[in-house]
Symmetry: C2
């Protein structure tokens, strides 16, 4: 597939994240208006709320876009998803005869604020990257026992906290928590000193289900993908996570990129999961290419200093696809809803510079990173900004996600002194 040209000039650059091939969905505000739905095209946003109001898009008797979330469109199902994409493509293509009506509905991204693109129903996070699991397991249990016995048989996941999911650009407050360091006799309540990122992709459920579904059905039900940073307090996690898993260590915030990149836009980049080390049971078997070839990176910028790319990896390093994760999620009969968000798990590759968390990059703090600014880091310092980027590379075009950014602020003083 090659670049599809648009009459929006900026969308035609070979490295622009938002060509006509992409058309990702976000929620923006500009000129004092309330947040509502928009579609990125080049450097601009098409105000689809206005386009619908003016009759340029007609998909439903009820307005779908004059809202601060894309959930109603997601609920409409694959036929309407395809109809919207076709219509947007027709309106914005180079040869469009409706340019005159559409052009006044464009807003510069530079003039807009971005908001959460959808209402998160529930949030689940997985632990399904082979290299990440191997790295973390080796640090904690040694290389022979790195993988738990179930790891090659099911995508291990836990329920996260939907209320903590925020859009890129939201500042992240360093959390307090109960923790017990290796030199502590007793636990104490303190700000986390091992605050970390996790480089992930998030899959968004479009079509709900009520009962077990197959891997193919799961793939069909997914609406799109975002970049996802699962901020993690490693010292809080170490103290709390046995026996029932991470809880407060993962509840401060999870950041996502502002644009939902649709499954349709990613079709040319589908790829297979890695070779199975153990044959999966039938209900989880691969039934087609359901991962995507998406280059990912992590950039760290200390306050007022130069930026350093600290990791580069690819979504194709995952052991389980989002479709396999979603299918597993329904095995017990668990109902899934429009707006459910599934984090892939940390995406690391085979080499040291492919690691998607500081825990792995600094090997638990034993091998601090040296940044381009000359500073060193084992975990995140106050004032550091962390950026995740992602792009799928086509023939003369790319599909970008928009950055997933967060700046870490100092912990507030003693939150319990006020009582």
């Amino acid at each position: 597939m090659t670049l599809s040209k648009s009459w929006v000039d900026s969308a035609n650059g070979a490295t622009h994240p938002f060509p006509l091939n992409n058309l990702p969905y976000g929620v923006f505000s500009a000129d004092g208006a309330e947040p509502h739905c928009g579609v990125a095209i080049g450097d601009m946003i098409l105000d689809v709320t206005e386009a619908e109001a003016e009759g340029l898009i007609e998909l439903s008797d009820e307005p779908l876009f004059d809202l601060p979330f894309w959930n109603p469109l997601m609920e409409e199902g694959p036929a309407v998803w395809a109809a919207l994409r076709d219509r947007l493509t027709a309106l914005l293509a180079e040869e469009s005869e409706e340019r005159g009506k559409v052009e006044p509905l464009l807003v510069a991204q530079a003039d807009a604020d971005m908001h959460m693109p959808f209402a998160v129903s529930e949030y689940t996070d997985f632990y399904a990257g082979r290299h990440h699991a191997q790295n973390v397991g080796t640090m904690f249990r040694g290389p022979e026992n790195a993988l738990p016995p179930n790891w090659l048989h099911i995508p291990i996941g836990y329920n996260g906290r939907a209320s903590s999911v925020v859009v890129s650009g939201t500042d992240i407050r360093r959390p307090w928590g109960q923790l017990k360091g290796p030199n502590d006799d007793t636990p104490r309540f303190a700000p986390s000193q091992r605050f970390d990122i996790e480089l992930e992709m998030g899959a968004i459920v479009g079509t709900p289900s009520d009962g077990p579904i197959s891997v193919q059905e799961a793939d069909d039900n997914i609406f799109g993908y975002v970049l996802l940073n699962d901020w993690s307090a490693r010292d809080i996690q170490a103290w709390e996570y046995q026996p029932l898993g991470p809880f407060q260590a993962k509840a401060t915030a999870t950041s996502i990129s502002p644009w939902i990149v649709t499954k349709a836009a990613l079709e040319p980049f589908r790829c297979d999961t890695p070779t199975r080390e153990v044959e999966l049971l039938d209900h989880l078997k691969d039934v087609g290419p359901m991962l995507y070839d998406i280059d990912l990176s992590v950039i760290m910028t200390p306050e007022g200093k130069a930026a350093t790319t600290i990791a580069r990896t690819n979504y194709n390093e995952m052991y389980y696809s989002a479709a396999q994760q979603l299918a597993h999620h329904t095995t017990s009969g668990c109902p899934m809803n429009t707006g459910d968000l599934l984090g892939s798990g940390t995406i690391s590759g085979p080499e040291k510079h492919n690691r998607g968390s500081l825990l792995e990059l600094s090997w638990g703090g034993k091998e601090p990173l040296t940044l381009d600014s000359g500073e060193t880091r084992s975990f995140i310092n106050d004032g550091d900004t962390l950026v995740l980027t992602g792009e799928a590379k086509g023939d003369g075009f790319v599909i970008g996600f928009g950055d997933c950014t967060g700046k870490v602020l100092a912990a507030l003083d003693t939150p319990y002194q006020r009582n």
Copy 2:
């Protein structure tokens, strides 16, 4: 506190669960109407949607009750909660001068169907019963290592699945799942053979918070309580729960009783947590009596057979109060929303007949129970109905919750054959 008398005669019985002292909130449908808000009084339901429409209740410019959930009232906060309770008490008290207007708004509970009383925002389940943790830990790790190191310092919890919470009376379908029995060389996909209950109380967050809150603030933010049965597939749980906690084992269903019993109704029954075995850190310290003296029981009824009460215990056996759990839940800055549901964890007492799960009652299947029907059970059979009951006993009155009931149906055949 003694019985407050109502002109609704059935509410004046000394053992009736719904006297004027209680006034629990539910969602009902009758006579073909859509589900909407009602309040239990004796054998009747006061249709508060109608009462509001007729101007008998005026709390807000917007209607609060013509809805299938109580969330808008919960969002209004403690002053409005108190005003509603005062107004309902005035309308329904023996000496009410408005009986003539109110009486036509009563519907017999026998003629109504009950629905979920609130929209569950997110669901968290704890592991905060001392006897339960001791029992389960002893089975899995021996009596010396029964309690994890963190257990006496924080209320261990995990995020559950809000989409799986159902109202009492909903049938429960035995789940499939991946499991690996002690005699299996490899995992297999099969219906759970160790399907279990967990006897719990659920606390409902009324007032939202965005950042760490104290134990006192947490108690203030709680709106009310329900009975809660956290259905659990022990064989699925055993295979999946390391390292990130229970996932599909707990996602089939969680049943709650249909009436929200308000914190106000339970005030006379407040009691302290047990003596601390280890001093808690300041942010979790008890600041008043925040447990409640509520008798609880579990009744098992095989299809077509006699019922057996298989467990009796009390909510005052918990080591951590719901307020402490909620405060802990916010330590990392996790935002909490109206409608968040917090399961207490399984409530067991010191004696064998006080145990709140079949796992404990049958000691992992090694000591099957003998029911009054003569049958034996280690876990739940298809066709078994499980009922949780709860009541707080006052001086000449009780505060009841309404049963929390579920019948277990056979697993559906091979859900993946259809593909």
